[in-house]
């Protein structure tokens, strides 16, 4: 499982600037402090982590795309999606 705080730390570690990121900070859209390049890097970082958790984080599934806004809405929703996929694979 990943906590929202862990996810925030992953994002902070990837960005060079010292960004102010909280659980409900926007990750996509006009108010986002992450650009599209950053979003791809977050996905790749989560995929890498997921392999050590025994699954492969899928950010392109139909389900993920249909709820794109909610998944990438903020760190909290992204952590929730990660944990949902993790739990689904270990059911």
């Amino acid at each position: 499982m990943i906590t929202t705080q862990e996810l925030i730390q992953i994002i902070k570690d990837m960005t060079e600037d010292d960004i102010d990121l909280v659980p409900d900070s926007s990750l996509v859209g006009g108010g986002s402090i992450i650009d599209s390049m950053g979003l791809v890097q977050i996905c790749l970082a989560l995929e890498e982590r997921s392999q050590s958790d025994g699954f492969s984080f899928d950010w392109t599934s139909e389900k993920a795309m249909s709820s794109l806004n909610s998944i990438f809405k903020n760190p909290e929703t992204l952590a929730q999606e990660y944990n949902r996929q993790l739990l689904a694979i270990h059911k």
């Binding site: 599209s36 390049m37 791809v40 996905c43 790749l44 995929e47 392999q51 492969s56 392109t60």
Partner: protein
């Protein structure tokens, strides 16, 4: 490592063999069961899930991929009015959707490798607007459009995306095209001759070179138009 799709026949095979001769470690993906190659995955480029499994295999085993060469493709020469829907769908699915899938799925491997090259295949027929190739041209025009946009999306990751657009090359794709049609196409090229597969393998090698790192979003018409 370099991934080559459609690596078991035609241009894909020529590209694969040329890269291997140059000492490159090549992963081939094609529908055929090609046991002669060490790193071969039997997989249809129109099957997203199968491609994803290849990606996961390469990713979890830590393979470093520096290039993707998309040679998988089919041709069908018909007047638009006489093209059956099944053929239309097959051509679009293999040439356009297959190229989009492979680009989407394998690009993250290049990003993880801090950069790389994607080479997609179009055709000189896109520029020439050849009669009798409307569906084929539509699929390849889509590949060109996709490649130009994808080049922009991947530029921040040091990944280049280009298209090679060959004229008539001596492969099975030319089956069903008359000599007169081939002469007509060739006459429209600046270098008016039927190219050998080596003309394409040389172009691939050129784009793979480090010196080509600033060439992206381009369509290179082999022989010139």
């Amino acid at each position: 490592m370099i991934i080559v799709t459609g690596g078991s026949s035609g241009l894909g095979k020529a590209v694969t063999e040329d890269l291997r001769q140059k000492g490159e470690n090549v992963v081939t993906i094609s529908r055929g069961n090609n046991s002669e190659y060490k790193n071969h995955f039997s997989c249809d480029v129109t099957n997203y899930q199968s491609l994803k499994e290849v990606y996961l295999h390469l990713s979890t085993n830590g393979h470093k991929i520096r290039a993707l060469v998309n040679c998988a493709g089919i041709a069908s020469m018909n007047l638009a009015l006489t093209t059956p829907p099944l053929i239309t769908e097959r051509v679009i699915r293999t040439n356009l959707i297959g190229t989009i899938y492979t680009n989407q799925i394998f690009a993250p491997l290049l990003i993880k490798n801090k950069g790389g090259r994607i080479i997609n295949f179009s055709t000189i027929a896109v520029h020439l607007g050849l009669k009798g190739e409307s569906v084929y041209v539509a699929s390849k025009a889509g590949v060109e459009g996709f490649s130009r946009v994808f080049a922009k999306e991947l530029a921040p990751f040091n990944v280049t995306v280009n298209c090679i657009a060959p004229g008539p090359i001596k492969t099975n794709l030319l089956k069903g095209i008359s000599d007169a049609q081939i002469r007509n196409i060739v006459n429209n090229q600046i270098i008016s001759q039927i190219m050998q597969p080596s003309a394409i393998t040389e172009m691939v090698a050129l784009l793979l070179r480090d010196e080509s790192r600033n060439i992206t979003g381009e369509v290179i018409n082999v022989g010139g138009i």
